[in-house]
């Protein structure tokens, strides 16, 4: 896209620089830097313990990094370091402009309230006070993530794992975020459900022009979802590039190992 002559590259939505996280003397991740443009899907792959989740938590404002900057193009302050914002401003920005899909829906949903209320909560957090309108957009979104809208008032525990994940996706998209973080969104699901959810996610991301950072250890998920890949090992980024390029022609020995370990049926 950047190569098209005469077209100005859009300003980055998210810009990470020199991001380092130490847990005492244990390394979480070291010196990570990248730019993410609006509408771009970035995959972070690597084995367990390679620092993927640490990196995601640092970028999403959940874990203060030891060093480095995470700059986000906020609506209210422009491109600014999220850890330089005051806590209320940062929380508001997270609420208004971001979404976070957890691997385990129990982490991302309120299990005590109905699926419908879970989906509508971000609207109420942003100040919506009209029940009828919220109800309608909740129904629209349940429909969009292909859930039975008659089950709107069921508690999350009465839904299957795949359905819970769909509720979580709807909850994180209903308020029109610009950037969504996904931590192994299909991790706990069986393959057929996984495939359908991925399909849905891909469609939604395209339609809404969302920027997504998706963490996964599943190469198939990375291949399907991501425009660009970052391969991590031991807390460091060892290879980065377009998804097809990284997966079809891996350069780093670890990436080669990773790609060759995918089971073929």
């Amino acid at each position: 896209m950047n190569a098209i002559p005469g077209r100005i590259a859009p300003a980055p939505l998210l810009s990470v620089e020199g991001l380092t996280k130490w847990y005492g003397h244990v390394l979480g991740c070291r010196d990570v830097a990248f730019d993410l443009r609006p509408g771009e899907v970035l995959g972070i792959v690597g084995e367990s313990g390679s620092g993927k989740t640490t990196l995601l938590n640092c970028i999403s404002g959940k874990l203060t990094p030891t060093a480095g900057e995470v700059r986000f193009d906020t609506r209210r302050f422009g491109l600014t370091d999220i850890y330089g914002l005051s806590e209320p401003d940062r929380r508001r920005m997270q609420r208004e402009e971001w979404g976070f899909v957890h691997q385990n829906p129990r982490d991302g949903l309120r299990m005590r309230v109905s699926g419908g209320a879970n989906v509508a909560e971000p609207l109420m957090n942003l100040g919506a006070r009209h029940y009828g309108q919220m109800r309608q957009s909740t129904i629209d979104w349940l429909d969009r993530v292909e859930l039975d809208t008659r089950r709107i008032d069921d508690k999350p525990r009465n839904f299957s794992g795949g359905m819970q994940q769909r509720i979580q996706v709807a909850r994180n998209l209903i308020h029109g975020p610009r950037l969504v973080f996904m931590d192994e969104p299909t991790g706990g699901l069986d393959v057929s459900v996984q495939a359908r959810l991925l399909d849905l996610l891909r469609e939604l991301v395209r339609d809404l022009g969302l920027a997504v950072i998706i963490v996964t250890h599943d190469m198939a998920v990375a291949r399907l979802m991501a425009d660009r890949l970052m391969v991590m090992k031991g807390g460091e980024v060892v290879e980065t590039g377009l998804t097809d390029q990284v997966l079809d022609d891996p350069q780093h020995p670890y990436t080669q190992l990773l790609v060759s370990s995918v089971l073929q049926i």
């Binding site: 209320p88 209320a117 509508a120 909560e121 109420m124 957090n125 008032d153």
Partner: protein, 309 residues
């Protein structure tokens, strides 16, 4: 050889300290009360003491009363609106004993009214203090279990979550069915639990002349609504706040505008509705108001009590 134990120099004073709590504790509680009054609706932590009743029986309210009461006060204590329930009687007797104050059942006469679950029907006046017993001071607790998180929500005025409970109510019952402990906004700043009073009483809190103090003993929190403060019950634009209404009137005094309790009379399903505020009802009957079941055995009991007062 044994020496006789010398008589203690302060022997005459060796009874309970005035109003049960020691002076330092009362001072600490008064400071918390002042802070609570300065920031209406804000939950002030305080060093709650062990009281001679179990948690849940009004330890927070008793400590507040003990900190503000003086010998000239007139004390009234109600439980669910009634002066004659066990809890109210024992707490009233407790303060008559340790604070040597006059007690009353008359809402207008009292200077300190300690209450659980009701605000008296008779409008409160300037100079009166209403002390609430609060089991759970945090209105958001049911939805958010982390104290660190609810504190941040209060600090940054992030109250969207409270509406989730109202949303749940409407989707389940078609209306906001919550009846007690209905959350309110105080001065459009702090979200506050009004303690489990019925939402019927919520409008009475707004612009009230009296000082309203809330004490949660187990949770160690004090909060307050000073006189003439805006108090707004939460609602949705399309589901406005409403209080309970009854088709019946009070069976004894015929009141149409008071909060009614349903009393089952026998196994045949007979029942009556009576004012929950026992003093309000007695006063109306004394003034000659007659309900549809006036003269009932329950009324007789009350009538017998009247001359004794």
């Amino acid at each position: 050889m044994s020496t006789p134990v010398p008589a203690l120099a302060n022997a005459p004073e060796r009874y309970y300290n005035y109003a049960y709590l020691d002076e330092q504790t009362k001072r600490m509680i008064r400071r918390s009360i002042l802070k609570a009054l300065a920031i209406p609706g804000y939950q002030v932590p305080f060093g709650s003491r062990e009281m001679p009743v179990p948690y849940g029986w009004g330890t927070g309210g008793i400590q507040l009363t003990a900190a503000i009461i003086g010998p000239d006060d007139v004390y009234k204590c109600i439980d669910q609106g009634a002066d004659d329930t066990t809890n109210a009687v024992s707490i009233r007797r407790f303060f008559a004993n340790v604070a040597d104050v006059a007690t009353t059942e008359d809402t207008g006469e009292a200077t300190i009214i300690q209450t659980r679950h009701r605000i008296p029907e008779k409008p409160l006046k300037q100079g009166q203090v209403l002390v609430y017993q609060v089991p759970q001071p945090e209105p958001l607790r049911g939805l958010e279990a982390r104290e660190t998180e609810t504190r941040a929500m209060h600090a940054y005025e992030e109250y969207g979550l409270q509406y989730v409970s109202l949303y749940e109510n409407i989707s389940a019952y078609g209306r906001i069915a919550a009846t007690a402990g209905y959350p309110v906004m105080v001065e459009e700043r702090y979200l506050m639990s009004p303690s489990p009073i019925p939402k019927f009483d919520n409008p009475k809190m707004a612009q009230n002349e009296a000082v309203m103090l809330f004490g949660a003993g187990r949770e160690k929190r004090i909060y307050a609504v000073p006189p003439f403060t805006r108090v707004r019950s939460l609602d949705f634009e399309d589901y406005p706040f409403e209080t309970q209404t009854w088709e019946e009137t009070c069976a004894l005094c015929g009141a149409e505008d008071s909060y009614l309790d349903e009393v089952i009379l026998d196994d045949a399903g007979d029942k009556m509705f009576v004012c929950s505020d026992s003093h309000h009802c007695a006063e109306r009957r004394a003034a000659g108001h007659v309900g549809p079941m006036a003269g009932h055995a329950l009324d007789q009991d009350a009538a017998l009590k009247e001359p004794a007062e």
